[in-house]
């Protein structure tokens, strides 16, 4: 009997893991984003990923969100500062601080597994864990991220506070001299 119970529990946990695979993943390089607590002291812009039209092709670029001004987004990549007119941008995704999706997923899986100690009460407690754990994990995976299809000007204006220069690129700064935050890339 316990093997039936264990099997049912394993199926539930496997289902949860399958759902977690679909959670939003962080696109910023490892080590770039601060956690939420340190985001208040972070002096860099968020990590932005843009899909945009370049002639007939659709290209993707990512890097530090430097500013939004003159109806264009400025992105500092590994190599240089790029300006992309907002009218060309098809999709924007901005990560502001690191997430704890893995922690939530582990918490949910471990919590569901502990219901094995609940005897037949697990019929209630295991689904309850999944019903609370999966939405919490998905919600966490979406937290600290702003994403938009064909972002409007108003979206950009409300998002620019997460750039390095929310006031716009100051006059007198040579764009070629801007450097990206040093982070440990893995």
């Amino acid at each position: 009997m316990s093997s039936i119970r264990s099997r049912a529990l394993m199926i539930l946990i496997a289902s949860a893991l399958t759902v977690f695979v679909g959670c939003a993943s962080v696109q910023a390089p490892h080590g770039y984003l601060p956690d939420a607590s340190n985001a208040q002291k972070n002096v860099y812009g968020g990590w932005i990923t843009l899909e945009y039209s370049a002639g007939n092709a659709v290209e993707t670029t990512d890097g530090e969100f430097i500013a939004f001004q003159d109806s264009s987004a400025y992105v500092l990549t590994e190599f240089r500062l790029i300006r992309i007119p907002s009218t060309d941008i098809k999709r924007a995704s901005l990560d502001i601080y690191s997430k704890n999706t893995l922690l939530f997923a582990l918490w949910t899986v471990a919590g569901t597994a502990t219901t094995a100690t609940h005897g037949w009460y697990l019929i209630i407690s295991a689904p309850l864990w999944l019903l609370t754990g999966i939405p919490s994990t998905i919600s966490e995976s979406m937290d600290g991220r702003l994403a938009e299809e064909k972002p409007s000007i108003s979206w950009w204006l409300s998002t620019s506070k997460f750039s390095r220069f929310p006031q716009g690129i100051p006059k007198g700064i040579d764009p070629d001299n801007l450097v990206l935050k040093k982070y440990r890339y893995e």
Binding site: M1, H118, E140
Partner: protein, 518 residues
């Protein structure tokens, strides 16, 4: 109490670490931007203040304040436009050089509260189930019948038949049944972690006397009774208990078990005045406490992984197990013995009742062969903490009657599936009906037109197999398992302290842990 396995313990350590990590690290940030011209201290609520300068520099200030008009001061760091640290210390910054203020409010993730709550609930349930595995799960085949207000559990079938070798017939009075019409519905449910094997489930009908009832004896004889005589007094060790024995109403008299010996006996004294003449019987409404359930589960735990072998031995009657269970286990715990004081003042045993099972109240008749004086004294001798008494009355007996047997006319499985095969099986013609946890059958019996003057009894036969729980296996101890059969008195003395630990809450735990609620 059992202990956590190593893997369960590790899992809970991980859970605690996750809880701590979650509490420390899982926050969300609300960022706001203010222009110096409109910035006020009231608006800007943040531990750190970021001051974006028109030249691209940024200050990150701690302990900041808008101390003077058009000036912000605080301690912190200054970074250039490439975010190289330029200076640390105290700063006073005039508004005229400031492009924007930035505040960040950090608050805990709301999901954390939900996950922490679930962790707490889970932990409580783990502790609860570890502390009390023998009360965590329900027990026994159950039968529900309409009592005028709701479908009420009114009988439990063959509760002592815990193996094929112990298969037995069981007749239970449906004493509180109130059929709403000629089609009496009976729910047969399996609410426990058991396999029930039911040979048949028939209804027995006996016509009641005008103002009386019909009672069944433990040996299956049926007697009419015109009137009952309630005791003038009823006294147990605790004192007066008359009120609790005056009606079959669920207000029961029971005692706690002896803390050193589960076989210890007690007596309840009943005094009857104006005892009528003629043949008499004592009607008792009773059921067991959960003491036998505890002992049964404990014995299974001692059998552990070898339970199958023990049950197989029981089936083949090796070592006289079946006889041992009947005579040693049930026999040692004892029955409710009825002792009668005859007209010469001598006490003699005049019958007994002993149906096993803690769920439904049995109403049974003990025929008394001893002539009673006008004022009669009767004693009930019973094992402490084993029985719940709901009713006791003297009945003036009329004729012995032969009830009419009624078989099911239809059976519905679950809530909607007509099951002709189950109908055959419950009628005793199509082999046994085997039910598993969660199964429910709605059985219809067609009553005669004068059904309201009929006494109803449920006649069932079968056995059931208790399912082993993983947590029981850890207590495997063949010597203790054998002790129950060979030296039950020692067994009951050794287990007394264990039972006393859980006795105060076992009833509540048991009823709140039914595998299925119907």
């Amino acid at each position: 109490m059992r202990t956590l396995s190593r893997s369960d313990f590790c899992l809970w350590c991980i859970m605690i670490l996750l809880l701590l990590a979650g509490g420390c690290a899982m926050n969300r940030v609300d960022r706001q931007i203010y222009r110096p011209a409109v910035a006020t201290l009231g608006d800007m609520q943040s531990h750190y203040l970021k001051v974006h300068m028109t030249n691209g520099d940024v200050y990150v200030l701690d302990n900041w304040s808008l101390s003077k008009p058009a000036e912000v001061s605080g301690e912190g760091k200054l970074f250039d436009y490439n975010r190289h640290l330029m200076q640390s210390g105290k700063f006073t910054i005039p508004f005229k050089d400031i492009a924007l203020f930035e505040t960040n409010e950090v608050s805990p993730q709301p999901q954390i509260a939900v996950m922490a709550l679930m962790t707490g609930v889970s932990l409580v349930m783990t502790i609860y189930c570890i502390a009390n595995p023998k009360a965590c799960f329900g027990s026994c085949p159950t039968f529900y019948v309409w009592d005028g207000k709701r479908m009420q559990v009114q009988a439990e079938g063959f509760s002592a038949a815990i193996a094929p070798a112990l298969e037995e017939r069981d007749i239970d009075a449906l004493y509180r049944a109130k059929p709403p019409n000629r089609d009496l519905e009976v729910w047969i449910t399996n609410e426990a972690l058991e396999t029930h094997v039911i040979r048949y489930a028939a209804l027995l009908l006996a016509k009641r006397p005008d103002k009386g009832r019909v009672y069944v004896t433990p040996s299956g004889e049926f007697y009419e009774s015109d009137s009952n005589c309630l005791p003038a007094s009823a006294t147990g060790a605790e004192g007066d208990c008359l009120k609790k024995l005056s009606a079959v109403d669920g207000d029961e008299r029971y005692s706690s078990a002896d803390s050193t010996n589960l076989e210890s006996k007690e007596e309840i004294s009943l005094k009857f005045k104006n005892v009528p003449g003629g043949r008499l019987g004592l009607v008792l409404g009773y059921r067991q406490t959960l003491l036998t359930t505890f002992l049964f589960y404990q014995e299974l735990a001692y059998m552990g992984n070898r339970t199958g072998d023990w049950i197989a031995g029981l089936q083949q009657d090796k070592m006289g197990f079946a006889k041992a269970i009947k005579s040693q286990l049930w026999g040692s715990l004892g029955t409710i013995e009825v002792l009668v004081q005859d007209r010469d003042g001598r006490w003699k045993k005049d019958g007994e009742v002993s149906e096993v099972g803690p769920i439904a109240t049995n109403v049974e008749l003990v025929r008394l062969s001893t002539p009673l004086p006008k004022t009669a004294n009767i004693k009930l001798r019973l094992t402490r903490g084993l029985w719940r008494l709901d009713y006791a009355a003297l009945a003036q007996l009329g004729n012995e009657v032969e009830p009419v047997r009624v078989l099911p006319v239809s059976v519905v499985r679950g809530d909607s599936v007509a099951d002709a095969s189950a109908k055959e099986k419950l009628s005793g013609t199509g082999g046994p009906l085997v039910t598993l946890p969660g199964d429910k059958y709605s059985v219809i019996y067609r009553l005669p037109e004068d059904f309201q003057s009929c006494e109803l009894f449920l006649d069932t036969k079968g056995y059931y197999l208790e399912w082993m729980r993983k947590e029981w296996e850890k207590e495997e101890d063949p010597e203790m398992a054998l002790m129950m059969f060979e030296k039950p008195s020692t067994f009951f003395r050794l287990l007394a302290p264990e039972f006393k630990k859980i006795e105060p809450r076992i009833e509540q735990d048991f009823w709140s842990s039914k595998y299925v609620e119907h």
